[in-house]
Symmetry: C2
Subunit: 249 residues, 2 copies
């Protein structure tokens, strides 16, 4: 095996995406608390399709068209929605075999930015190894795009980026000369020995705690509960293996 051929970079906010432009890269969207964790839960529990929508009005239109809708603002479920944005709502009973519109501001912005890239993958701790395996198989450059919080840097997204960076570098197929990847890896190594203790200091934990929505913290930071990789294509998110016509092992 020669030297690694595929470049790996981490982007700390959707606002910085333009500086890392690389259309031939696969992009991993990261919004640990809670959008990408919720989306991975939904696919693990058999959802057919998820449509990420940025605004309340768009979510309402999907509801009128017969979709299930997950939408909340400031911790309150919107009146027309079926349930809120917590991963815990995405049970098989609720969403198995269904199409769901998921209203999320940070996550949707990030997903749509990457729409012209080769492949857009939804990443979270839940499917960490599955995402790493798929990216290593594809052998393209990789951009890990943190959704952040209202454009700001987010520590939990960064820690996840470090965990994924570690796995990708370990394959020997990727290299990085990116300061954000280096920082992510260092922060992941700090967090790894006791991730719940580390995550206790992230700002989003406090925001969720005030809204009594922080019951998902441990769940969202536990690796590899799912082997499924959701992929965004043509406006919708579907499971990769289903899209590719690959039967489950």
């Amino acid at each position: 095996m020669g030297s690694p051929q595929n470049k790996l970079e981490v982007i700390f906010s959707p606002d910085l995406f333009k500086h890392y432009e690389n259309p031939k890269a696969n992009v991993v969207i990261v919004d640990i608390l809670r959008a990408t964790s919720a989306i991975c839960t939904a696919f693990e529990n058999g959802v057919e399709q998820i449509i990420p929508v940025p605004t309340r009005e768009e979510a309402r239109i999907y509801k009128e068209e017969g979709y299930m809708v997950a939408a909340e603002r400031d911790g309150k479920v919107l009146d027309f929605a079926d349930f809120g944005n917590s991963p815990y709502n995405f049970t098989n009973e609720n969403i198995g075999g269904k199409k769901v519109a998921y209203s999320t501001t940070n996550g949707t912005k990030a997903i749509h930015q990457a729409r012209y890239n080769k492949m857009v993958v939804i990443g979270s701790f839940l499917n960490l190894s599955a995402v790493a395996d798929l990216l290593a198989e594809k052998q393209n450059d990789v951009l890990i795009l943190c959704a952040g919080w209202k454009g700001k840097f987010s520590l939990e997204d960064t820690v996840f980026s470090g965990a994924l960076t570690e796995k990708l570098l370990d394959t020997g197929k990727f290299y990085t000369i990116c300061d954000s990847a280096t920082a992510s890896l260092d922060l992941w190594n700090l967090a790894k020995p006791d991730i719940m203790k580390y995550v206790d200091k992230v700002a989003q934990r406090e925001r969720l705690r005030k809204l009594k929505l922080d019951d998902v913290l441990e769940y969202c930071h536990t690796a590899d509960s799912s082997g499924k990789v959701p992929v965004f294509r043509n406006g919708v998110i579907e499971e990769y293996r289903k899209l590719a016509g690959i039967s489950e092992k």
Copy 2:
């Protein structure tokens, strides 16, 4: 003493400044390799005034108006300039008592963004303690703005932000609920025991090495060689105590 009153935040790129908007905050501009290190060197060595200019054409105009000009592109001194951008050029012989136009892309962008803020301070390891002391004396909110590299996250600017964050939190006058500040502090704590070893992995080191301009690395990461705080006001940078009419101790 009650609980800390002044909010501290770190911004990893000029492109994210808008998300942290806070006009009553003092802003610290950070561009460790090499703009803010060079500017601090110049004031330590007696420069009268520095005008930060973003483009080659503006630098040329200042030259025609009789200013000294420090300007380079891709490691080459521009033909009309007096010298390049290395801190080592800013000796007392070269710039003592003079007005100098300093051409820098990343640094100038950051400085101009903050122009409507209360006070805009030039920070580097060279004047780390002096900057911390002045900010603690002022008791306003603080935004530490990393100039980064072409809009990207920069590890050396971040490590410095962590060092300054540590000093400010230690005064008991500041608090932070900012993930970038938390990450900066963690990375600074990793770097602190052997900063030159840590800095060996920053991307900018490799860029400077290729241009044979990396001789400034240790100098730019050594704390407190200067007690002077350059401040940007009305388009020019001058020394704070001179501006404020305070005589030197």
